[in-house]
């Protein structure tokens, strides 16, 4: 694997929301087990059905979970950035992942050995509760992507996908080929190119040398299906609840009466 230590080591503060949400004392305890790595665009960090050795908490990197069928056709079922963790399967008690994980935007991530993660998952610990809540967000997003892939047009889905990437990227431009977008959306490349040309003609994006520049976010939102908003709500909802997790009180809110 091409990962290497980030030049600045672990000097700068952690930018992953799950790690940051942990109590200071919890984080200090975990930090010796965390290693900052640079992930490169296009790098495959998990192959389907292979044993997982590390989980990743992305910071500036963005990773897509991709499901593949036998003939190689793919569709993206979840985009994971600074708000999440790649390797939730480990948390759920598995050794392998059925999905492939591909880096979509180069950047840093904190990684942790799967054995260390297992040891840290004490019942009721803040880490366990955060990951449980994160699993719920992931379930919601995966189910949304099932409906989105069935009912929404390539144009809507392209706008949704660009907005999600833009939220994660640190600038208004990122590297991306039509071919890889088509693989993510499970659409034909020609279809993606056609829609990208429309967005470019409308002045919403500019596409130059395999880099996409986002010019008009509000315009993209108008072109996107509802799914972009839904994804945002799921993450915002989770982050809003973080203070409650930090009280250390085991709380399963489903039992509250409305």
């Amino acid at each position: 694997m091409k990962n290497k230590r980030h030049p600045s080591g672990t000097d700068f503060p952690v930018k992953n929301d799950i790690l940051r949400a942990l109590l200071n004392s919890e984080y200090k305890h975990l930090s010796p087990m965390l290693e900052r790595v640079e992930l490169k665009f296009g790098e495959i960090i998990y192959q389907a059905d292979q044993r997982i050795h590390h989980v990743y908490f992305p910071e500036t990197a963005v990773v897509a979970m991709v499901d593949t069928v036998e003939d190689g056709a793919t569709v993206e079922v979840g985009i994971i950035g600074h708000e999440g963790m790649v390797g939730i399967n480990i948390f759920l008690g598995c050794l392998v992942t059925p999905d492939k994980a591909i880096v979509q935007i180069s950047g840093s991530a904190m990684r942790m050995k799967t054995n260390d993660l297992r040891k840290e998952l004490r019942f009721g610990s803040p880490l366990q509760r955060l990951l449980l809540r994160y699993t719920q967000v992931l379930l919601a997003i995966i189910s949304q992507s099932v409906a989105c892939s069935q009912h929404h047009t390539v144009g809507q889905r392209l706008a949704r996908w660009l907005l999600t990437m833009h939220d994660h990227a640190e600038s208004n431009e990122f590297e991306m080929s039509h071919k890889s977008i088509a693989a993510m959306l499970g659409a034909r490349r020609e279809g993606v190119t056609e829609e990208a040309v429309k967005l470019q003609a409308a002045g919403l994006i500019a596409y130059r040398r395999a880099r996409i520049h986002i010019l008009n976010e509000a315009g993209l939102k108008r072109n996107s299906c509802e799914c972009y908003r839904f994804i945002r709500q799921q993450f915002d909802g989770m982050l809003k609840e973080v203070p409650a997790f930090l009280t250390g009180k085991p709380r399963i809110s489903g039992y509250r009466t409305r």
């Binding site: 008690g93 998952l121 019942f123």
Partner: protein, 256 residues
């Protein structure tokens, strides 16, 4: 039906160790689930978890315009209401009975108590969640890349595995809703299967006549989901299958 139901018909309940069965089974309530009953709507706060025995429940994602897509089918292999133990406020799915039958219902408060005892229940439900995630992602890729004919085969096989008979009570309109395709597409696909002698279709009843042929006609998606479900939720204790259970120390919650 009620007379013959037993909690251990559900694979999750069956996978529990003896002491946990003894603790939990007295609190289970057997409920009859008629076709079309909605167990919960998207946005509802969950209060119960359901463990189907011979019923099948569809989890649907409902879009703003009312269009829906089936994201998973749950039967005796699983549980309805996994979001309940994850700490979020509400569910984003609709759970609707797709094949009438029974399920055992457990109050959320009991489930919470059980988690508090740090037993196997949470681990079993987490593994089931992984199986559910696999089914959902496979459905996404299948919808995108495989024909309605293949999707119908996948759907029939997944449903059959969760039933004790070869007969499904189901209208083509309902199937179309589940698969998120036009009804005409389902009629056409079902007609082909009928002509091949794989199924018969009469007044809302589908009977599968030739299961091996159905498996041949299906895309690989059925096999992927089945393999993962079998691997994650076997009918044997974890240690017998050469896989380590999640090690969780029963330590106190560390609070600052």
């Amino acid at each position: 039906m009620t007379g013959t139901s037993h909690p251990q018909q559900n694979h999750i309940l069956d996978a529990l160790p003896q002491p946990e069965r003894e603790r939990l089974f007295p609190h289970l309530k057997l409920v009859e689930l008629p076709l079309g009953e909605v167990l919960y709507e998207s946005g509802d706060t969950l209060r119960h978890i359901y463990f189907p025995t011979d019923s099948i429940i569809s989890l649907l994602y409902v879009l703003e315009d009312g269009a829906s897509a089936e994201i998973a089918v749950v039967g005796n292999d699983g549980a309805i209401g996994v979001a309940l133990f994850m700490g979020g406020e509400t569910t984003t799915n609709r759970a609707i009975v797709q094949s009438a039958g029974s399920a055992y219902m457990l109050a959320g408060t009991r489930l919470k108590e059980e988690f508090g005892r740090h037993g196997q229940m949470l681990h079993i439900l987490l593994r089931y969640t992984q199986a559910l995630i696999t089914q959902m992602s496979q459905t996404a890729v299948c919808n995108r890349h495989h024909s309605v004919d293949q999707q119908l085969c996948r759907w029939l096989l997944l449903s059959l595995d969760r039933l004790s008979s070869a007969k499904l009570t189901m209208t083509q309109e309902l199937i179309a809703n589940m698969l998120g395709v036009r009804r005409e597409g389902v009629t056409e696909a079902a007609g082909k299967l009928q002509r091949l002698g794989v199924i018969t279709y009469q007044r809302g009843h589908i009977t599968v006549l030739d299961r091996p042929r159905l498996e041949q006609l299906c895309c690989e998606c059925y096999g992927v989901v089945k393999k993962e479900t079998d691997r994650l939720l076997p009918l044997h204790p974890l240690h017998l299958r050469g896989e380590q259970p999640l090690t969780v120390r029963d330590a106190e919650v560390r609070v600052k």
